[in-house]
């Protein structure tokens, strides 16, 4: 009986650890098969240097997993550069949203992107006269209820108590 409880505790902790590391691992995986130029992401103090433009906020990796509902993609570029954002979801390239802006004297650009549950693809095209480069990103927006369930689990309780409520919340999460 005692041994069974210990095993169950270990199982729960194991599952929790896997869930916690899952998102990081998935974010690191670069599986986007694109025909666009590869983003040369040099991360320096949170800035993504893409040579022709710099992204200062809103995107940190080529592929991310998130619970966020919005992203504010901001960055720096040369004055006069045309920046185009194309946003679409899985298999919905036809229903894509297009935002365009010309970089002014501030040499800044900023675009609000609304994320929907599932894979959100963001293509940023930077064009300065004949020089044109495109970068593709994927943000996998997860269901917010998963986050809530994760938050509801109190790690300290799992370690000290085998109450029914903690067990059931973990079971729901695992399902």
């Amino acid at each position: 009986m005692e041994g069974g409880n210990t095993l169950r505790k270990l199982l729960y902790i194991g599952i929790l650890v896997i869930v916690m590391f899952f998102s990081t691992a998935e974010a690191r995986a670069n599986t986007v098969d694109d025909s666009f130029e590869k983003a040369t992401s040099v991360e320096e103090a949170g800035v993504m240097d893409l040579d022709i433009i710099k992204i200062t906020a809103g995107i940190t990796k080529k592929h991310e997993v998130t619970f966020d509902k919005f992203r504010n993609i901001s960055g720096e570029a040369e004055e006069g550069m045309l920046i185009t954002f194309i946003v679409y979801q899985d298999d919905l390239e036809d229903a894509s949203k297009l935002y365009t802006q010309v970089v002014g004297t501030s040499r800044l650009f900023s675009q609000l992107i609304e994320l929907k549950e599932g894979n959100n693809y963001i293509i940023i095209i930077a064009q300065q006269e004949d020089d044109k480069k495109a970068f593709k990103f994927r943000i996998d927006c997860k269901d917010n209820t998963i986050k809530k369930k994760l938050e509801d689990i109190k790690i300290d309780n799992i370690l000290t108590d085998t109450g029914v409520s903690q067990r059931s919340s973990l079971e729901i999460l695992v399902k």
Binding site: G58, D68, F70, R71, N72, T105, S106, L108, S110, L112
Partner: protein, 461 residues
């Protein structure tokens, strides 16, 4: 026998009282000839009395919810919303806890990106708040935190946990971290509910997106569809067809007197109306400016702290503002724009927020009315010495405008006009009144410290 003794006693008491009253009239305060003046004044002050601590009078100009999204996404709470009221009430508790039970942890240089990395609530004040006097003698926080202009609170999801409050002073680039015990989850729940259903306008943070042209951290609106705002008009509500509405004016000035029935009214040829009662004089100028002066002189000088003086000023102002809000179709909010310590006390300058936007006027109007801010209050010897304000009334027009000039476009125009990069201290939308014969228009206000730059938020073409 007993009856006779009682009559003698009564007569004696009446003689004493009459001597006292005669003395008061000859040598004392002549603010009223009413014998029950003191009693009346005492009762009256109890009406104005607030149950809250003085720190509850510290009302933020803006309350910002950090939704905790990557890259920085924020909601600025609407002043008339329930969320704003709740967050403002919570601030009172937070400040009380911090100053009376809080534990000072450390002082650091401001790192906005680090501080704004998780869900939080930020209270901003236009002018820094001095801590001296807020904290009790037993509390040493005042020795660590000279003043602050923002408070960032990062609540925890668990009750009875220690949470950190960041007292930020952008002028000195310092942040003071104070730990307090969280005894309820209302703030955590508020942030969560806003971040799960962000309904209002989305804002970004200039420090988080590395806009180096901004000296301070400024929250700027971002949108994919242009927002619309209702236009407002401003009128001098006490003048009707060139004539002063004396009945209405009477109701406006009455709360400023201890015994309004005893006030005398005088009019002079330029249209200025004077009301005098005892040492109090109220002037109403035809341009809509009202000035209250208390000429009571005092032999002793009592120096008060910021919070004491501010409480006196705010209580007085809130009480009088009720009269305006009763008449006005559009409720206006008041925020502290500037404060100044003088040899004798404190001067406070307030401005209006109408329809959730600050209301500001041009330099030309400022010269015409002799005021740079909508309200000025001078507190000396724990008394209101001077109270000068605009009595204009704002009202909504049946016209909406699309705000189709983004903050980046406004900055680009600003940079072109200045032929180079000038550091920006603040940037926001405001109803801007350029001249008295026009209606206010929504402008981008770019504050560079010594000057303000105005750019129309609507491009008509």
């Amino acid at each position: 026998m007993d009856k006779s003794k009682f009559k003698t006693f009564l007569l004696f008491v009446l003689i004493i009282i009459s001597c006292f009253q005669t003395g008061e009239l000859w040598f004392g305060n002549l603010s009223s000839r009413n014998f029950f003046y003191n009693l009346w004044a005492k009762n009256r002050s109890s009406i104005v009395k607030y149950s809250a601590e003085p720190i509850a009078f510290l009302q933020p100009t803006r309350i910002i919810i950090n939704l905790g999204f990557e890259g920085g996404v924020y909601n600025v709470l609407n002043r008339s919303s329930e969320e704003f009221k709740l967050a403002q009430d919570e601030l009172g508790d937070i400040l009380a806890q911090a100053f009376f039970e809080g534990q000072f942890l450390k002082e650091e240089s401001i790192d906005w990106r680090k501080m704004l990395s998780q869900k939080s609530i930020l209270y901003t004040f236009t002018d820094p708040i001095p801590v001296s006097g807020i904290a009790g003698i037993e509390n040493s926080l005042a020795s660590y935190i000279p003043e602050f202009n923002q408070i960032l609170v990062i609540p925890d999801k668990n009750i009875n946990q220690e949470i950190n409050c960041y007292f930020i002073n952008e002028k000195t680039n310092k942040v003071y971290i104070v730990a307090i015990k969280q005894d309820k989850l209302s703030m955590y729940n508020l942030i969560n509910s806003v971040s799960e259903n962000p309904t209002g306008m989305i804002y970004n943070s200039t420090k988080q997106i590395r806009m180096n042209q901004f000296e301070n951290n400024v929250f700027l609106p971002i949108f994919n569809e242009f927002p619309t705002y209702q236009l407002i008009g401003v009128k001098n509500s006490f003048i009707n067809e060139g004539k002063i509405n004396e009945e209405k004016l009477d109701k406006m000035v009455n709360p400023l007197f201890i015994n309004p029935t005893l006030k005398r009214m005088q009019k002079i040829s330029d249209g200025t109306v004077f009301y005098i009662e005892g040492n109090v004089m109220v002037k109403y100028f035809p341009n809509g400016v009202m000035e209250y002066t208390n000429q009571t002189s005092s032999t002793s000088s009592v120096k008060t702290t910021f919070i004491e003086s501010y409480q006196i000023a705010k209580e007085f102002l809130d009480e009088h503002q009720k009269v305006f809000n009763n008449y006005s179709s559009l409720e206006s909010y008041i925020y502290l724009s500037k404060k100044k310590e003088t040899d004798k006390g404190w001067e406070f300058y307030f401005d209006f927020i109408i329809n959730d936007m600050p209301f500001i006027f041009s330099q030309e109007i400022s010269e015409e009315i002799g005021m740079n801010h909508a309200i000025k209050i001078v507190v000396e010897n724990k008394k209101i010495k001077q109270y000068k304000r605009l009595t204009w009334e704002g009202y909504l027009l049946d016209e909406e405008k699309e705000l189709n000039v983004s903050y980046l476009e406004a900055i680009n125009s600003f940079n072109s006009a200045y032929n180079g990069e000038v550091n920006i201290k603040d940037m926001y939308w405001a109803y801007y009144l350029e001249s008295l014969d026009k209606n206010p228009e929504i402008n981008w206000i770019i504050d560079i410290g010594e000057d303000k730059y105005f750019i129309k938020a609507t491009n008509e073409q």
